[in-house]
Symmetry: C3
Subunit: 373 residues, 3 copies
């Protein structure tokens, strides 16, 4: 367990739940007295948490782990608690914390412990930060070592800009954003409130646009300067080394609550609807519009100029090459196999059209030679 | 429209065409007088451009948008203009700018507006730039804050090195290059004239080379130091977070006019021919040679040690696993479907070889029981 | 040949083999006298090495190149040398260096030349490096310009931290590591001895973890703070722009001798066994465990929560979607074809289930109308 507070820092279970549960999830503590005495120094998995740690059960299939856990307290829902009690005659070794959304309460507890471990964060403006006099920084802004804030940039209250990060000319960041080290915002990129941007993120590089040069009969490219921008809503998180290109003439847009994992590529003029989440290594080609509340599995790719509706779930590794209008789950993954087996089956793929023709031929022939003849 | 010049800055349409059309595309202005009076402050899409903006029509299927556009001027070809005039009895609301290559003229206009918007570019050598005394910088070189130019590096006239960029020992950049913030050139990387390198680009990291260590019966790796370099021609653009590894003993080569989008991986000893363009997330494995004037769609991958000829077009998401000698378009994408449908069909893929055998069996049987018997 | 020492620097062949062969591979020099006189200034391929360079033959299919090579010396195994002598009546133009592991000896020679070319490496602590007073640096540590070492970080003897790199709070690096420019270690990341980390590497960014917010009926995400860390063994190399996320509660682990190429994504809680090597652009989703001595081809992807055993070899471009327990090679790549051909065959994929049904139908019918009836 990497995070373990010292005994003096460890809150009681009651205090922890009071302060960590900022979204007000209903929580029941069957034994209030114990909760006021038990000090919780950390958060761990059921299989590894110790007696001064809190754990959680969100997957009903793991209920059997409750009997062995050494955790001091466990977040679980009423049904799991009843099941456990029905099966165990002894008193449990842990204090039950009953909540109908144990996974969400775990998320709240993890945020609390993350905020309370001692960590060096940029505090104030570092001596080596380079900030243009025309930039506007609201109160409580921190800018780390060697970070650069260019002319006419604006940064909202409480936002922290990590070491080596660059906020380009005229770019804007909302309130309470966290830019980790080494994030690049090109000029004129706009980011809303509470964004979390990880190391290596590049927002607003040029979209990939070239016109054939008519002076050459061969293919020679003329650059189409990218005059658009990037507009990112509130509560967006973007993972390490992910890139979002600026629009050609208009904006590339990520809606409120969008979550992007690492090494994702969002091309120019793409729009992503609210609360859509994408796993790592996804690529979205230019001008494609993705709806709200979608999920895109890792390494999926979407071709350009497509429209994907709301509540669409794309499996990892799938290539989406045409519009999707109905909600649902979509998949297109070639099945793997032991190499020799794969080779035998895959050789037939190149003959599928011929195979179908042969089958039709047989069907016709058989219709002609059927017993009814 | 993110770029809109102030009235004082906005040129007349005639002046704009004079100065922006640097490649000398033939342009006709049916109404010269108007062109001398109309001031153009920006460039926009047909659907969103206003009366002080110029727009363009390059896709004939969008000709119908001309009737509604609010743009002050529109670049279009003679045929589109004739079609429009034949259908509309009224005078158009826009000034026609007739050019047989409207997309290329749009590219020129976009470059002009990009150059004329006020943007902070590194001007001269920033105080915090770290430049080795042995480095040779030609006239009008700019080096941004915290950028590093190592020993024996050479930088051509007019080249701008962005903030936090690193030009490694003995590396060279030609004339009029633009390195955005946070580009890394390892030692001995050579880049020609007019390159545009985006944030997060890494040129010249070690190729992936290891020999099995014969002292172990198990697989243990010994590093093969990568002694080669990277050689990049003129007029090359490389997108954000793209990596080009140095050769093992020789060079990794990108020819003149090559355009690489974001998050592309070019492995050691690869050669890419002139004017070949690759969309984002492409991977090219070691020692593969790609010809001139190819295009590679997003997320395609090429295996190592292949030869792909000139004028080959590879579709997005395709895995190229053997040589391609003939020009043409090549594709290998597994079709996506609604998940349950995919599952049903994909289960058969693992039986394709058996299915073919059964079909042959039926064909034989039927040949034996045919009416002619 | 990018590396060519000056005549004064070039060692004799005998001295070169003495000093470069640090792993003690058995080597035979049929002509000791010559080896003491021949000076070797560089290392090259058989087809391009000159008379003052050493080359190697490791692939028996290239034995024919020996007759033409201009190399001054060639590393080859006894069998290749015998074959060559049997076919050639003349004295060879090169000095033979006989070794049963020519590729491993080439690796050693390449390391020697790499270490002996003049290159600027961070020497000592650069003036502009920002090092927290609480950080512990062992002897002979170098920290480059603008690099940052945060509070409580520890760096082992002989380790070099490149320009612009960041060693986060409480992170640790072992002995003799080489961090190239622009590497980010988040807080609490642990790296063993002799690591090589390339430009753009990000270790310890947050894993991708979100819980549905139960206050909304629609999909809205609550961040699960990532409290775990990253633990990397000894002798690990990680390529440019590769990312390894920190664990949610526990550690993300790379074993000793793991080699990762560029642009790889290792998600939270993944474990990779000793001496496993992955080519570029691979993605491994959360909590997947990969065994020892595996190889993963470029652009392969592994789904989350899988277990892959030891000695498994996954072909490039393959999506692994279920556990693999037996050693062997596994593949799942859709075959590419000329576009029109692909289109014809791929259309049948969507009908495979129906096709199988029709085939069964025919088989039944034919069984009913067989001659035996």
């Amino acid at each position: 367990m990497p995070v373990l507070l010292s005994p003096e820092q460890a809150p009681t279970l009651a205090d922890l739940l009071d302060t960590a549960n900022t979204i007000g999830l209903p929580v029941q503590l069957p034994d209030q007295a114990v909760a006021g005495n038990l000090h919780i120094a950390g958060l761990g998995a059921l299989s590894s948490a110790g007696s001064s740690e809190i754990s959680f059960l969100s997957n009903p299939r793991l209920t059997s782990l409750l009997a062995q856990t050494q955790a001091g307290a466990v977040v679980l829902d009423a049904k799991a608690w009843e099941t456990y009690q029905a099966q165990q005659s002894d008193q449990p070794g842990f204090v039950p914390v009953i909540c109908q959304a144990p996974y969400a309460l775990y998320a709240m507890l993890a945020q609390w412990f993350d905020a309370h471990r001692i960590r060096q964060l940029p505090q104030g403006i570092h001596d080596t930060a380079s900030i243009d006099p025309s930039a506007k920084l609201d109160h409580d802004v921190s800018v780390g070592p060697y970070a650069i804030v260019e002319a006419d940039a604006t940064i909202g209250a409480g936002t922290r800009v990590g070491a080596h990060s660059i906020v380009g000319q005229g770019a804007s960041l909302g309130r309470d954003c966290l830019l980790h080290a080494r994030v690049t915002l090109y000029h004129g990129v706009h980011v809303g409130d509470r964004a979390i941007l990880h190391s290596g993120v590049v927002l607003g590089a040029d979209g990939f646009g070239f016109a054939p040069d008519p002076r050459h009969t061969d293919q020679v490219w003329v650059k189409i300067a990218q005059l658009g921008d990037v507009r990112i809503g509130n509560d967006v998180e973007i993972g390490a080394n992910t890139t979002v290109d600026r629009g050609a003439l208009e904006s590339t847009v990520l809606g409120d609550g969008v979550k992007l994992d690492n090494q994702i590529m969002i091309a120019h003029n793409v729009t992503v609807g609210e609360h859509t989440a994408m796993a790592a290594c996804v690529g979205v080609a230019g001008s494609t519009a993705i709806g709200a509340r979608c999920t895109v599995g890792g390494a999926a790719m979407l071709s350009g100029h497509l429209t994907v509706g709301d509540d669409v779930h794309i499996s990892g590794g799938t290539a989406i090459t045409s519009d999707i209008s109905s909600p649902g789950r979509y998949t297109g993954v070639y099945p793997f196999a032991e190499h020799r087996q794969w080779k035998k089956n895959t050789a037939v793929v190149a003959q599928l059209s011929a195979l179908r023709r042969r089958l039709r031929q047989l069907e016709k022939q058989l219709a002609g030679s059927s017993p009814q003849d």
